[in-house]
Subunit: 123 residues, 2 copies
DNA sequence: ACGATAATACAATAATTGTTGAAATATTGC
DNA sequence: GCAATATTTCAACAATTATTGTATTATCGT
């Protein structure tokens, strides 16, 4: 992750429409959605949505896969995690206790960030 | 964290100057820096830096504290963690295994996100 | 092959954002 | 109080980004 990649990601998510698109696709996970579905769900004109999908894809926040005449988009969640790593690089000049204190001040409990447990989803 | 707060944060970090400022202050942790130090360190004209500091502060990514005639800025790391939570809300429609798989595809090892261990910093 | 549909590209315009220098405000040290 | 310093505000201009309608490309079903 270099600075240009990071600012591209932030720039992408700074638009209300693009943030809606990305969050919608994060929810959909590996299923993703085709462009038309996204446009209908969010109530955005196809032309305008296309503009924003292009921006998100160029920032690598979305992947596209052609499915006949449809384009299926998926969120690149790994990139988002890389971005977090970039942002917190050298956090507190490597003082872990300070980091822990800062973390305690947030409500972050994102499941994608929880420690991996090997038997939590076994049936 | 609502949508407006989230887009404000992303908008703030989408500028090269503002990203540099934020990352610099993340490194500094609780010490923070005064405006002039930041300007000198990054080689940004004070007038322009002030513009960007204002934007970052309005987005709540920075806090300001007056110190005589200096203004000391600090990164609001908790807000950033809240943002991560917001972004990954309902990730994979609550399918934890899919989340874990996606996570495995990233290089994220941010120390601020590591599980809290109670004795790692004892001397 | 043909009409219908999915999606993108293009062009024009509207709106927002970034940068700079000069002026203003506030605090310090003498 | 006064000169020096730290920072911000303001105004002007430059640059970038967003939105919309129309046109284009490609695929599907028959």
């Amino acid at each position: 992750m270099d600075k240009l990649a990071a600012t591209s990601v932030f720039e992408s998510l700074s638009s209300s429409v693009r943030l809606d698109v990305f969050r919608l696709l994060v929810k959909k996970g590996l299923d993703g959605m085709v462009a038309g579905e996204i446009a209908t769900t969010l109530g955005v004109p196809p032309t305008n949505l296309s503009f924003h999908l292009k921006a998100l894809t160029q920032a690598r926040l979305l992947t596209v896969e052609q499915e006949g005449r449809y384009q299926r988009y998926r969120a690149n969640i790994a990139l988002m995690l890389d971005l977090i790593a970039y942002l917190t690089e050298e956090c507190c000049s490597g003082n872990p206790q300070q980091c822990v204190d800062l973390r305690a001040a947030s409500n972050c409990s994102a499941s994608v960030l929880q420690p991996i447990s090997t038997n939590s989803t076994k049936s």
